[in-house]
């Protein structure tokens, strides 16, 4: 009994809090993908690679060109936004009427391109911004400011996107576009423009994630592999296009990884998270927050 109670120590609390902070990071990553994949129903398998490019952008601006972080960040966001728009314009648009699997394949090709572009252009070295933010200590528990920052950004980003999507005309049009593309022009909507706006916005969110991730992670051409799959799972677990659900799902995933890692080996934490996803798909296929029909 004593042994059992032993697990309820300060470290458990720390793991829970760290899970929440990791959740912030994952939620931030899932935000843009949810917009693209969940709302306009376009598959960007290379989403995490856009984040990678953004991280390189930050690295070069801050480390190589010596720009202050706060100046570099908006530029990086715009850079990735432009990349997102470009991706849409060149790759997705010709495939809008093709089966989704073709989009998956084409953006998979882009994934290769971005990875090897990074290899060719930036080299295979691991790069690091070298900015170390202070640490927040409460008793024996310590928390990362950079994660706190990511958490806050994810929260604000989620709210901003949510209100944008529900309150504005453009947001409503973005939500409508996947439901009936042809009829949009009858509403006076220029579908190409909506797609470009959404792609740029999705890219900008990827850029935002990049700015905050670069504070915590090394950049290298393959950094996307750490985040890609799990981001997709989060979008689905939260319910496609459901921003609040996606936010929540990120935390659930992060908790499983964090607590699973605390009680067992780190690796089994991931097995658990994947298995949890599969089971949840059977129980709540429409997402965590969906009412059962």
């Amino acid at each position: 009994m004593q042994g059992f109670l032993d697990i309820f120590d300060i470290y458990l609390l720390e793991a829970v809090v760290n899970g929440i902070l990791l959740g912030g990071v994952l939620a931030l990553l899932a935000l843009g993908l949810n917009l693209i994949f969940g709302v306009i129903d376009v598959t960007w398998i290379c989403y995490a690679e856009l984040v990678m490019i953004g991280m390189y952008g930050m690295y070069y601006m801050v480390q190589v060109f010596g720009l202050p972080y706060w100046v570099a960040a908006p530029i990086a966001i715009m850079l990735v936004a432009a990349l997102g728009a470009l991706l849409h314009y060149i790759v997705i648009e010709p495939l809008l009427t093709a089966p989704p699997i073709n989009q998956l394949l084409a953006t998979g090709g882009v994934l290769f391109i971005l990875q090897s572009f990074a290899t060719v252009a930036f080299g295979i070295d691991f790069r690091n911004l070298g900015i170390r933010l202070p640490v927040l200590a409460i008793g024996d528990m310590h928390f990362s400011y950079s994660r706190l920052l990511a958490f806050v950004a994810a929260l604000l980003g989620m709210l901003a996107v949510y209100f944008f999507m529900t309150r504005t005309y453009t947001g409503t049009a973005i939500r409508a576009i996947s439901q009936d593309r042809q009829i949009m022009s009858l509403m006076g909507v220029d579908t190409r423009r909506i797609y470009l706006i959404t792609s740029a916005l999705g890219g900008a969110l990827a850029g935002l994630a990049a700015c905050l991730l670069v504070l915590q992670y090394d950049v290298h051409p393959f950094v996307g592999l750490s985040f890609g799959p799990i981001t997709f799972l989060i979008c689905v677990l939260g319910g496609l296009g459901n921003f609040v659900g996606g936010f929540l799902a990120a935390f659930v995933f992060a908790q499983i990884i964090s607590l699973g890692g605390l009680f067992s080996d780190l690796e089994w934490g991931y097995v658990l998270a994947f298995a949890f996803f599969i089971v949840m798909m059977f129980i709540r296929p429409a997402g965590l927050l969906a009412r059962r029909s």
Binding site: L104, G109, F112, V271
Partner: protein
Amino acid sequence: MNFRNAAWATGLVGLVALPFVYREPYHLHILVLILIWSFAYTAWSIMGRFGLVSLGHGGFMGVGAYVTALLWNHLGVSPWIGIPVSMVAAGMLALVVAYPCFRFRITGHYFVLVTLALSGIVLQVITATRDYTGGSLGYTPNRAPSGKGLMALQFDDKTTWYLIALGIWVLGLLIWRWVDRSMSRYAMEAISEDEDAAAAAGVNVTAEKLKITLISALMTALAGALYCQYQMFISPDTVSGIAVSLQMVFAVIVGGLYVSLGPTVGAVITILLAEVLRIGFGTKAVGWDNLVYGLLLVIFIIFLPKGILGSILDRLKTQPKPSGMK
């Protein structure tokens, strides 16, 4: 005997004869790999062509390869028994995941991601149980004592492997054709368009989907086991996981999803392309091979959305057929 069958027969005879006249070992090696992967890709396409886009096939392949090798190394079970066992294991895994999917109508994106999680799990489990599987260091089947090669399904001779791979590849095509000509194809086409309407035509939707999934998973596991026996080495990254699953999707779509030789063409093109680009660029222009590879993938898919073979056949079909051919 019509023209098509004659062409097939000649082609096949030519392929069987090939290793006896052409003996460049490295090229044979690549050919064997192409044949084994073609078989795996064909297996994937049997599901994929009906809209069941699975990213779990890396998992099935991993199970096929690892179960066979583990049984041989730890229990001394011959692959002749081990392979069927591994196929059954992969089949059961497929059923366990697919049955609820089909029952609860998990389709489209959701199905893709559930199966993606599955291959993620298989990869992680192989890595985490490294005391048995060697983890990411990979795993090597024990060498059979000399003279026991047949029993252990281990051959040093490339020609033997070539013929085995060729046989399996033909088997894959035959299964593809069998499915294509069966009523199951109609049923699956119907299901992929509209499950309710298919059910209203009397189709047992869940059972038909499971059947196709099972066939596909069994074939994939067989491919994994053979890959292991041929390479005498497997590692989580080469036979399991999301990357392998994606590789299957790429090859099949590039080749052509709806034609029997599409996956084969896809295998030939993707494998040769990767080899040629890597060797071509060599160490002079590091990283460029994948850049070009990705670029070509994107171009293929934008300009030949039905895959290379599929698009070529389409084009031939719209042209008037020369007379005398049927």
